[in-house]
């Protein structure tokens, strides 16, 4: 679960303005902590998904099977193929603040799974694991087969919260296995920078 911090934005702004070296040092430590989780997730990516041979990226350009490109949708993409290199590359982190969400929260330090195939591995079957009950497909069991194959290769979802959206197979699982060590490291870095900054200003011992 994400942890809400009050005053972090102000602290970062103050560090940037008055002690950029401390901000740099703090970001460096946070990067190291976040990279551990990302590396763990990247190591989980398998060369292929057992049972989904045709999903494997063969290096050919893929056309959409469901829709044709139109002038209104010239950038229509096909269903993304499974490419472990692309998925690993998409697993990363960011120290830049995100946009404010509808509840008013802003993500300061974030773990990201940017690739489309990676997002599929992460979330496929999170809503309807056995396929949608109202599926209109000619092959209504295809979804269930797809989810089970991924589950067979990557294992089940790991949850880091109470909501359905708080669970996944790659980054979520890595974060779950980390058992909060990354958050601890991040806070240590923040506190260290904060303390050093205050001591420089003579505000606190």
């Amino acid at each position: 679960m994400p942890v809400e911090v009050k005053g972090l934005v102000e602290t970062k702004a103050a560090l940037k303005a008055y002690a950029p070296d401390l901000l740099k040092e703090m970001n460096k430590e946070i990067r190291i902590a976040l990279k551990i989780v990302v590396k763990d997730a990247q190591q989980m990516v398998t060369p292929n998904v057992i049972g989904l041979y045709n999903w494997q990226d063969q290096g050919r350009e893929v056309k959409s099977r469901t829709k044709a490109k139109t002038p209104l949708a010239p950038n229509l993409r096909a269903f993304p193929k499974y490419n472990p290199l692309v998925i690993r590359k998409g697993l990363t982190f960011s120290l830049a603040a995100s946009r404010r969400n509808s509840a008013g929260f802003v993500g300061i330090y974030r773990l990201l799974n940017k690739s489309a195939a990676g997002a599929i591995i992460e979330t496929a079957g999170r809503k309807n694991f056995n396929g949608a009950s109202d599926s209109q497909s000619n092959n209504p069991q295809a979804g269930a087969h797809f989810n089970r194959s991924i589950q067979g290769t990557y294992g089940g979802f790991k949850s880091i919260g109470n909501r359905r959206e708080d669970k996944g197979r790659l980054l979520y699982a890595a974060f779950y296995r980390d058992q909060g060590k990354v958050i601890d490291a991040v806070f240590k870095a923040i506190n260290k920078a904060d303390r050093t900054f205050k001591s420089r200003l003579g505000l606190a011992a």
Binding site: E4, V5, L34, S98, G104, N113, E122
Partner: protein, 544 residues
């Protein structure tokens, strides 16, 4: 889709505070509105109604005055009554207040310069506004800019007019296109609930306007000649009076309990009483009369203004005609003056030329030129003459020639004087030639004395070459024991006779065959076959 797992977040309240503040204000406004509604019959409401009525009237009057002023300034005051009536009618039909329509009409009128066109365009703008999501003001603004050549606003209305069309079409075509697209939009809107509400609102505004006009007239009457200060004092007094009346009415109502028919009856009686006491019907008539009077006065003013304008126009046209006549006369005079000046200049030139004949200096120069003088002197005199006649180009040319002549004359004379006496190149040549001739004659004599042919030597090509050669070879090595004739024959045979003349030539027989016929050719062919043992022959065809 990027999966984003925020591990550290913060709450950002920017915007939330503003929203909260806005909600608080809205809540306060709602409370105020509730209070206002709850006190519908309170003094505040009555006074507010009075104020609103007066405001409606003043706004309308201001707009009308603006329209009147615009039309007067553009010389169209005569069209004012009809225009005002038309706009008021349009306001009633469209549900848009006339004091809103008049400024928009003004804008269009200033853009088109035509009352009729501006009215049509205003109708079009209302249709477009009702048929699209654009504000009426924006549509009018775009149309008026379109008349000035700026169609960008029309494009931004998003009413189906593309840039290419706007660039190529004129405003007549554009308005026609808009009419065809949005015709009937206003009527359709007025059929809706919102449209009906708009018409009612507008009518309510008109009502308030009439009430406001009545109030102003009443205050003017009440205050007499005390001006605006008196009017405001009266309004205050009226407010107090009305408030006292309504408060008392409320007290009476509470004393009478909740008997509704009784209250209604009481209110009706009170209203009738007030009507009787205040002469409401009379006042209403006065309002109508005042409106009529105002309109009549305005019409009369408009007529006078139109007459004045026509007079001014006539005067201006006369002034323009006069100006044109004057300018034409001025042009003719200038042309005549130029011709006269040219004639005078020509005459003066002739006179100068003739006058030159009697100029003593020139006469002397001409006389000097008649004498036998050198070229240089002639140049000098010509130059002097050119200077007297003020002929600059000729003077310059002659001066150059004179300088050249002087330089040539002086330098050449000096060089010739300094040259030594030249030697005669052909001196003594006659003696040499005589000697040469003598030598030649001597050589000729010697040649004549020489023999024509070398003695005893054979001459190549002569008929006696081999005989002469034999004479020289007799009794020499290789020819021992041979006679001259033998040696000569031997040499002739050996050399093929090519060094001496041939004694005899071989006889040649020439046969000319003319007009060879096929028969003759056949005979030849047969002869060749007979003489040939091989049997093969050549075909001879004279026609080939």
């Amino acid at each position: 889709m990027t999966i984003d797992i925020p591990i550290v977040t913060t709450y950002k309240d920017k915007g939330v505070k503003a929203a909260q503040s806005g909600l608080d204000k809205l809540s306060g406004s709602a409370k105020k509105l509730g209070l206002a509604l709850g006190l519908a019959l309170s003094i505040n409401k009555i006074v507010a109604f009075g104020k609103a009525s007066v405001k409606e009237f003043t706004d309308s009057e201001k707009a009308v005055a603006s329209l009147q002023n615009t039309l007067r300034n553009t010389g169209n005051l005569l069209a004012f009554p009809d225009t005002e009536a038309g706009l008021k009618n349009l306001a009633k039909l469209s549900g848009i207040a006339d004091d809103s329509l008049i400024p928009l009409f003004n804008q269009l009128y200033l853009a088109t310069g035509n009352v009729s066109q501006a009215t049509k365009d205003l109708n079009t703008a209302i249709e477009v506004s009702r048929g699209s999501t654009n504000e009426l003001g924006s549509v009018v603004d775009a149309l008026s800019k379109g008349y000035a050549g700026n169609t960008k606003g029309l494009g931004s209305l998003n009413v189906g007019l593309n840039r290419a069309y706007l660039a190529s079409a004129d405003m007549a075509a554009i308005t026609k296109e808009l009419n065809s697209t949005f015709s009937g939009s206003s009527a359709a809107f007025l059929e809706t609930y919102a449209g009906k509400v708009a018409v009612l609102n507008n009518q309510w505004s008109e009502t308030k306007e009439i009430v406001g006009q009545g109030l102003v007239m009443a205050f003017e009457t009440a205050t007499g000649n005390r001006g605006a200060k008196g009017m405001t004092d009266s309004m205050e007094e009226l407010g107090y009076v009305i408030s006292a009346v309504v408060i008392r009415l409320g007290q009476l109502t509470s004393m009478l309990g909740t008997d509704i028919p009784l209250i209604s009856d009481l209110l009706k009686r009170t209203t009738d009483g007030w009507k009787f006491l205040l002469g409401v019907d009379e006042t209403r008539r006065e309002i109508y009369n005042e409106i009529l009077r105002t309109n009549t006065r305005l019409n009369y003013e408009a007529m006078l203004a139109a007459e004045a304008q026509a007079k001014r126009n006539k005067e201006y046209l006369a002034f323009l005609a006069k100006q044109k006549k004057l300018s034409e006369a001025s042009a003719v005079a200038a042309k005549k003056r130029a011709a006269e000046e040219k004639k005078i200049a020509e005459e003066r030139k002739i006179l100068d030329q003739v006058g030159g004949l009697f100029d003593l200096d020139q006469i002397q120069i001409f006389a000097a030129l008649q004498n036998k003088i050198t070229d240089q002197e002639k140049l000098r005199l010509s130059l002097q003459l050119a200077l007297i006649q003020e002929n600059a180009s000729e003077a310059a040319r002659l001066a150059t020639d004179l300088v050249k002549s002087q330089l040539q004359t002086t330098n050449l004379a000096a060089a010739i004087a300094k040259l030594p006496k030249a030697l005669y190149p052909f001196e003594g040549w006659s003696t040499d030639i005589d000697n040469l001739i003598r030598q030649i004659l001597l050589m000729m004599k010697l040649l004549q004395t020489m023999p024509t042919k070398p003695l005893g030597q054979p001459v190549v090509g002569s008929p006696t070459y081999y005989t002469d050669l034999a004479k020289t070879l007799v009794n020499t090595t290789g020819y021992m024991g041979l006679t001259e004739s033998q040696i000569a024959e031997e040499r002739r045979q050996e050399s093929g006779g090519r060094f001496g003349g041939m004694q005899t030539a071989a006889p040649v027989t020439v046969i000319n065959v003319n007009g060879a016929t096929q028969g003759l050719l056949d005979e030849l062919r047969n002869g060749l076959i007979n003489s040939s043992a091989s049997g093969s022959f050549s075909s001879i065809n004279p026609n080939r």
